[in-house]
């Protein structure tokens, strides 16, 4: 029983990471169709933020540094995304496949920049006292650091949901994504909306960076470790669908945890990909797909 529960916990915490790194992509890739290979480097940029804060401004206040890092990393990664969109990507919205190459190049540039600024060695973010330790519930030991990630992803989801459904800016964003031409003739500044979308999506990657800094390595390669999971969640979930992304992340995380428990880490991963391949045979548009009668889906 406790094995069953502890693997459920592992699966859910894994899902929370999948979801957090993939959430930003549901905007930039899912809604705008930009295959943003640099999304991982926005995560990386976010991961460096708590390191910088802990070693400079808040040298003796590690907990404060981590909490301050959340909004700061959102802005830092968001601005990186905004610059990328305004300078390069807006010129190539009719060529989605080219964005793959361009953003791949950008990701290499950002990795090299990280090496130049921070050296090639990994950096360490000190886990603040309030995130050390664990709770034992029904024989499952849950570490505070992982629970923090779960809470963070729930808050991020709530924020995104409020933004998309309750705020005018969010409604404008959905309008542009669902039908760009109609939105434009209705008087929406689609260019500015694109910028906002990219800022938001990239900023979420920054927040994901702070979360993964607590549990994994912080270095120039941090982004590459998570980019695949991010795309997987968006593709399986259905392009740009929050609900789909949540279901996909939970399904893949839990599947991975259980298969790994009974076999090995490598087979757990293989099982996830085998499942994704099979699944996409039957539902090529993902778990939740927008049904439309228009020719431009």
């Amino acid at each position: 029983m406790s094995t069953l529960l502890s693997n459920l916990y592992i699966g859910l915490t894994l899902a929370s990471i999948f979801l957090l790194v993939g959430l930003g992509l549901t905007f930039t890739f899912g809604q705008m169709g930009v295959i943003n290979m640099a999304h991982g480097e926005f995560i990386m940029a976010g991961a460096y933020v708590p390191f910088v804060l802990q070693t400079t401004v808040f040298a003796s206040l590690q907990g404060v540094a981590l909490l301050v890092a959340l909004p700061v990393s959102f802005v830092v990664a968001g601005l990186l995304g905004l610059v990328l969109e305004r300078v390069l990507l807006r010129r190539m919205y009719d060529r989605p496949l080219d964005t793959l190459l361009v953003t791949f190049g950008i990701s290499l540039l950002l990795q090299q920049a990280a090496k130049s600024i921070f050296s090639a060695n990994n950096k360490d973010v000190v886990t603040p006292t309030f995130l050390r330790g664990q709770w034992d519930v029904l024989g499952v030991s849950m570490t505070h650091a992982r629970l923090f990630v779960v809470v963070l992803v729930l808050l991020a989801l709530l924020g995104v949901w409020v933004f998309l459904t309750r705020l005018p800016a969010g409604r404008r964003m959905r309008a542009v994504m669902q039908n760009r031409d109609l939105a434009a003739v209705s008087g929406l500044p689609t260019g500015r909306v694109d910028g906002t979308t990219f800022f938001l999506g990239s900023g979420l990657a920054g927040i994901a960076g702070v979360a993964v800094a607590l549990i994994g390595p912080i270095g120039f390669g941090t982004g590459t470790a998570y980019i695949l999971s991010a795309f997987l969640v968006v593709i399986v979930g259905g392009f740009g669908k929050l609900r789909g992304a949540i279901i996909a992340a939970v399904a893949l995380g839990v599947l991975n945890a259980y298969v790994e428990h009974f076999t090995s880490s490598t087979i757990g991963k293989a099982a996830v990909f085998a499942f994704v391949i099979l699944f996409l045979q039957f539902k090529p548009n993902g778990i939740v797909s927008l049904k439309t009668r228009g020719l431009t889906a």
């Binding site: 502890s6 592992i10 915490t13 894994l14 090639a120 060695n121 990994n122 950096k123 360490d124 973010v125 000190v126 886990t127 050390r132 330790g133 664990q134 030991s141 570490t143 505070h144 650091a145 992982r146 993964v212 607590l214 549990i215 994994g216 390595p217 912080i218 270095g219 390669g221 590459t224 470790a225 991975n256 945890a257 790994e260 428990h261 090995s264 880490s265 490598t266 757990g268 991963k269």
Partner: protein
Amino acid sequence: MGAKGSWRLPVAGIVGAALLAAGCSSSSSTVETGGSTAPKSEAGNTVKVGVLQSLSGTMAISEVAVKNSALLAIKEINASGGVLGKQIEPLVEDGESKPEVFATKAEKLISKDKVSVVFGGWTSSSRKAMKPVVEGTKSLLFYPVQYEGLEVSPNIFYTGATTNQQIIPALDYLKEKSLTKIFLVGSDYVFPRTANKEIKAYAAANGIEVLGEEYLQLGDTNVQGIVSKVLAAKPQAVFNTLNGDSNVSFFKELKAKGNTTAAIQTVSVSIAEEEVPGVGVDNLAGHLVSWNYYQTTDNPRNKAFVAAYQKEYGADKPTSDPMQAGYNSVYLWKAAVEKAGSFEVDKVRTAAAGVSIEAPEGTLTIDAKNHHVFKTARIGMINAKGQIDEVWNSGKPIAPDPCLDTYSWAAGLATGQARAECDKVK
């Protein structure tokens, strides 16, 4: 970042085979023109040597420091009069973290630049890619990193540890401390799998119980499953052959789960001074590592080395085992050349047998037959400052035994090509 990877083995094999063919044909043309394998690099007042490490790509993080320490040794030797009266001229090439590039660049250094010797390589796949090149052209390679053993080449000198100078002493130490229930965790490629095969053979013969064996793909940071398996098995120690970023997640998770070294001790063979800050001193303090050298190794030769290295490359730069081996490689070659009185490969190779130097890690002697080096094994404990304190050493340099022929429990581990190579030098 650790060592000896071979995650591109198939590619390396194909490229290696192709280059073996290429190497054969080019060496036969050398015979026609001159009949001698002596490189013409020593013309004039300089002698050319190749330094071939990854300066870009995923391995650059580790290998740049090895290149730097080799260049430091060359600079020091030149300042004190060079080798046989000639100044050393280093030609630095980038292996790009790709085995096939190592093979091409090694061939370029040997055939085009006519270097007397090549210093370089880190991953096992890079070494295996260069091996047919240096064997085909009958030239010299000094390889500076500890590796999985079971290899002998007439043209390669191995200046890092082989398994009986790193892994077996670590197991002896665990046994001495009565930590006899162990769990094996490693990255999923040739070095950890080979090492674990040897560890399991040792364990079976020495009353050590192996409670589990788990692998993570290189770079994988999803460690929760493995850590929970380790904790559930309740071992006394974990023998860790994880490489690179996986170590960060592994030790963070172990710490978060409340593990202390009193409950589960770990011994790592791929974490050195350079990697400690990246994993987090907090997460590593009190854990064990096994190498032949630490920055804290206490002798005058090492104090001079650390001071010279930090003067050249920065006071905050740590020194570690592999870079120290890169530094020693140059001095070992110099000693062999001076004993031979010549830069000719055959003479240097013969003269190298029994050559000895005083290195930062202690006295090093080249084994007459297998081209490995006598080294002192040292177990270290990571301290709160991120440095490593020696807690045990083997007392005297251990004779290298890459084929593990002197261990009865290891019978049958060397098979195929490894067996054939080992039998040649028995």
